[in-house]
Amino acid sequence: MHISDGILEPQWIILWWIIAIVFIAVGVVQIRQKTKDNPRYVPMLALMGAAVLVISVWHIPVPVTGSSSHPCGTPMAAIIVGPFPVAVISAIALFFQTFVGHGGLTTIGANNFSMGIVGAFTGFGTWVALRKFRVSIFWAAGMAGFIGDVFTYVTSAFQLAVSLHPEAMFHYWGIFLLGYVPTQLPIAIMEFVFTGLIIRHIAEVRPEMMRIGRTLTKPIVGE
């Protein structure tokens, strides 16, 4: 999902930036409120920020396809610190990643929309919905990781298609998506496993951490 500079049309760059800024602004307000409620929210956010920064450049080779890709980490972060604050930490992570030639400066808005907003919100929504149906923590968190990862790349393919070929958007959306799927699907399964294991482990060993972000987990986690 790290779209480089020089690919997207200017009007789309601006649109994705505007949407991202709205979510980042709400995220900043939420961070301030949560920090007042719980002083340990800031180190938790820093930890999640560092995790997203590392996980989203963590290129895992897929031997069969001959290419590599990375998980997102934003669904896991959204479960712990909440989805709006993830838009903030994801934007910061994407900014730092431009220094190692990963993604672009003008495309931070677009990349943040796919990874930090769509990835976080679809993952978080999956987690909340599955927990309400009393699905186990491992499966709910794992599915959140999987769905968040897949939708991140569905969104990236859409962003490329709608910017480059609005007249044949669905055709090119499919083409770009097919470029991602063979490598990304195994990575999404991996994201399923590690998100499920990490969240289950935190819920077992440090259940109080699941409430730090006040992400509706208090009534949902207790099995």
Binding site: M1, H2, I3, S4, D5, G6, I7, N38, P39, R40, P43, M44, A46, L47, G49, A50, A51, L53, V54, V57, W58, H59, I60, P61, V62, P63, V64, G66, S67, S68, F96, F99, V100, G101, H102, G103, G104, A157, L160, S163, L164, I175, F176, G179, T183, Q184, F194, L197, I198, H201, I202, V205, R206, E208, M209, M210, R211, I212, R214, K218
Partner: protein
Amino acid sequence: MDKFTKNALIACVALSTLIIVFFYAGTALGHNDLSGSDDKVTETAAQVGNKTPHASLYELDQNGEYVGFCTVGIIGGLGAGYAWATVFDEGNSKGGIIRG
């Protein structure tokens, strides 16, 4: 070292081992490149859209990417380690600081 920290370290080592195994498996299957799918799709998009993707600040060759990604890992690891002690500290978790 508490159980959570120990398990987190084991998970990091296991994942790193998995990456190395996958890398060698890919090389053994004849894939010498194993470059990122992001770059490949971006190149395809650039071709069909007559665009020229470029780096924001500077172009990195393959060795530069290794160094860059390692640097990101070190910076992320330092950040995570700094926050880890506060978040996962055994004493704090029992000390009633959390008011979730």
